[in-house]
């Protein structure tokens, strides 16, 4: 079920990515749908290994549709997903605020990781544009929260509700 849900989310993320590319080219500088998917999965999933695998997969898909260094986004999302899942398991986070904070941290962290990797590995690295990163973090976090509220309305339950069982497992 988790895999199916993730696959659906990934298709939606790709659709949003492609639509934004067509409707408003360049708008993806301020928005990252893949981070929302990975963060949501990290806060909901009961398996750390699963979060790592899904983060890598989502990052590879993002890499395929962007011109950044192939694997950089996968690396960043894997690391961010792992970090969110780990923190969430330890602190048992709940509600919108925690999700927003995790999402913002993931977005900004992913940007920082990608920038670091490209600076190391590529002759023409992406510029250090912290203002754009912050804007992207803000927009992505707000959209993610909006999405979370929509899901809560549709599903009628707290979609980010980690249990004590998962915490003991980790």
């Amino acid at each position: 079920m988790t895999i199916l849900r993730f696959a659906g989310g990934l298709v939606i993320a790709v659709a949003i990515h492609a639509t934004l590319n067509k409707v408003a080219p360049g708008s993806l500088v301020y928005f990252n749908p893949y981070v929302i998917l990975v963060t949501y999965q990290a806060m909901r999933s009961g398996s750390l290994a699963q979060v790592i695998a899904l983060g890598a997969l989502a990052g590879l898909v993002q890499d395929a549709f962007s011109i950044s260094l192939a694997g950089a986004n996968a690396f960043a999302l894997t690391l961010c997903g792992y970090a969110v899942a780990f923190i969430n398991a330890k602190l048992v986070l709940r509600g919108n605020a925690s999700f927003g904070a995790c999402l913002a941290g993931s977005t900004f962290g992913a940007e920082l990781i990608v920038w670091t990797l490209t600076s190391i590995l590529v002759e023409t690295p992406i510029p250090f544009a912290i203002d754009i990163w912050l804007a992207r973090t803000l927009v992505t976090a707000l959209f993610g929260l909006l999405l979370l509220q929509s899901l809560r309305l549709v599903l009628g339950a707290d979609v980010v509700a980690p249990g004590q069982q998962r915490r003991r497992d980790w």
């Binding site: 298709v11 790709v14 659709a15 492609a18 639509t19 067509k22 409707v23 398996s47 750390l48 290994a49 699963q50 790592i52 695998a53 890598a56 990052g59 590879l60 898909v61 890499d63 395929a64 549709f65 011109i67 950044s68 260094l69 192939a70 694997g71 950089a72 996968a74 690396f75 894997t78 690391l79 792992y82 990797l117 490209t118 590995l121 590529v122 002759e123 023409t124 980790w170």
Partner: protein, 283 residues
């Protein structure tokens, strides 16, 4: 049952990150971002191709619908503008047709007066009275324009009457259908002379047509130039009926050549300034 990755997630994370770093390092050998399109990336693109195509199709359809909507709005605006333009042109056309009719009428009147070759004044009817016993009309020209009492008045169709009163700016005209009006006439076909009198109605009566005169309905009647008022040769009317009258005369009824219900521009002749050699009118 847990897998090896689930039992040792940290180790699994290290393996995945190492693999991804190896991937990046391999792809960055060229040291150029644009060249990094590996087999894995192509596979991902191929996998999500239906999603991309669906988005593209949806976008194109949405764009078409939006452009269709914009085109429809533009067409509606253009239609409104064209309808407005059509209304303006229709009004202009009606106005031009009216002017054209007026020009034709004035040309006819002008041509008529030129045929008569008598000094003439063009005047417009400002009031007409054919409902009462006295049939008359008022013209917007008077003695200041040289109009005098007894000047003949005619339309492009024929004789209208004579001036009976003038002021500096207007003139009053007695119509030939007035009961007190008399005009010396002759028949075009036989040149037999007579007198046309107004009946007070819409038609005319001819007096002094001998019993033996050759008159038939349809004969046209012209001024004879024998009464000292009207010059010879102006169309007065057409015979409508001929009956045996009392004594030695026939009862002849005529219909006026002029339609008194739609008079607008008339000609006032001034026979006093007339060249005596040019009084003959040939219709």
């Amino acid at each position: 049952m847990q897998t090896a990755a689930e039992r040792r997630p940290t180790l699994f994370l290290i393996v995945v990150l190492a693999s991804l770093f190896l991937l990046m390092a391999t792809n960055s050998r060229t040291r150029r971002v644009e060249d990094q399109r590996t087999f894995l990336v192509r596979a991902v693109v191929r996998t999500f191709a239906p999603v991309l195509e669906a988005v593209d199709l949806g976008y194109v359809n949405l764009l078409d619908a939006w452009h269709g909507y914009l085109d429809m709005r533009a067409a509606v605006r253009e239609n409104v503008a064209l309808q407005k333009r059509l209304a303006e042109l229709t009004a202009e056309n009606v106005s031009l047709r009216g002017r054209n009719t007026e020009i034709s009428r004035l040309r006819a009147i002008l041509g008529y007066s030129e045929q008569i070759d008598i000094p003439a004044t063009l005047a417009r009817v400002v009031m007409i009275d054919t409902g009462s016993r006295f049939k008359s009309l008022i013209l917007d020209r008077g003695s200041d324009e040289g109009i005098r009492v007894n000047d003949p008045v005619l339309s492009s169709e024929g004789l209208v009457g004579r001036v009976v009163l003038t002021t500096p700016s207007v003139s009053k005209v007695q119509l030939i259908i007035d009961g007190d009006s008399s005009v010396g006439v002759h028949f075009e076909r036989t040149l037999r002379q007579g007198v046309v009198r107004g009946t007070g109605g819409d038609d005319l009566a001819m007096a002094f047509v001998p019993f033996t005169a050759d008159v038939v309905p349809g004969d046209r009647v012209y001024t004879a130039g024998i009464d000292g008022t009207y010059p010879r040769g102006i169309l007065v009317g057409r015979v409508t009926s001929v009956e045996k009258g009392k004594d030695l005369f026939k009862t002849v009824r005529c219909v006026p050549a002029t339609d008194f219900s739609r008079l607008e521009d008339l000609i006032v002749l001034s026979p006093k300034r007339l060249d005596p050699a040019a009084t003959e009118f040939t219709p």
